[in-house]
Symmetry: D2
Subunit: 111 residues, 4 copies
């Protein structure tokens, strides 16, 4: 993770793009990329969506969009001083307590 954070930071600094990389702007850019990712799945059935990587062209587009999302998420976490993996693990702990295995099993209330 640290490698990726450093690479994305260097990429921005070499181009003098830090001036554009406020948290607000990066959150918008992240959302824009997620919108492009959604567009890959919007007309697929759930079953088709699960085999999208079998199609070379659609698979390459999905992989590239996921890369874009990860780039902006990494950059946003970096400018805010948040460790992405730690933030995810601590949130997962919190959700695990809210949805204990026995009660949550197979239920549709939250997944």
């Amino acid at each position: 993770m640290n490698d990726l954070t450093a690479s994305v930071r260097a990429f921005a600094e070499e181009r003098d793009w830090q001036q554009f990389h406020t948290a607000k702007n990066l959150a918008m850019a992240l959302a824009g990329e997620v919108g492009e990712l959604l567009a890959e799945f919007q007309w697929l059935t759930p079953e088709q969506s699960d085999t999208v990587m079998d199609d070379p062209e659609a698979g390459a587009r999905v992989r590239a969009e996921i890369g874009d999302v990860m780039i902006y998420l990494t950059r946003l976490a970096d400018v805010l001083g948040i460790d992405l993996e730690e933030a995810a693990l601590s949130k997962l702990d919190e959700v695990a307590q809210r949805y204990p295995v026995q009660q949550a099993k197979g239920s549709a209330a939250k997944r």
Copy 2:
């Protein structure tokens, strides 16, 4: 990264939630969480957005939302068989070639 992927996968499997975790559904859940993240920044000026972590309450909410986004992005990449870090690094390479340092410096065309 592998730890997080494994933790999120175990979390889903223990609750029998794989049935809900199609790529299509996970992409929607990811977008829903990004929407909640946007809501934290929508009325802040760009300057205020950069110091959001100085506020204990807003900072905790932003960290939790970023955690949620990372959880669903990790899970989506896992069900599609995509390595998140590799996808981001290879996309970064591609973008670096499209925006060479000398031409892109400080320009507003793409950041």
Copy 3:
């Protein structure tokens, strides 16, 4: 349409909220509300999504979220001086020319 635009404008002006209603902020607020709308559909099958209004609680939430989306879209169009209905109709004309009936019929390329 003019009634709604006027009502939303009056609502904002009475509360001195014009200062927060830049196009950038309103676009973010719109996206945040769309994220909440997505959350209503994310774990439903396509078939379940079509009958969501039969469930009184979920139906009321969906109606309220669609209301929120429409409020921010109306307000954004208003601050930009765009007529929503005209913008939609002229875009529909453009798309109709790009996807002539005979070629587009039932095809999955764009819907």
Copy 4:
């Protein structure tokens, strides 16, 4: 509003696209279009965002994106049997009661 709803419905029916227009899919398409709209504003300052219509090229793109968002919102409301304008007005009433003018004036808690 009824004209637009009828036009969008006819557009879909002529192309046999009703099969793709589940509420779930349309919510995703709406979110995808909102993502494209966000991309128009993401690197602009709030001040720049307010004058985006002065730029002929950017202004035309913003108008087209807002048209796309309105098309999918209209179609989604149609398949769910929701009257867009009514849903927005009744939500506005509800929010007006939650944020009375005297208390909400100029405050940052919700806009």
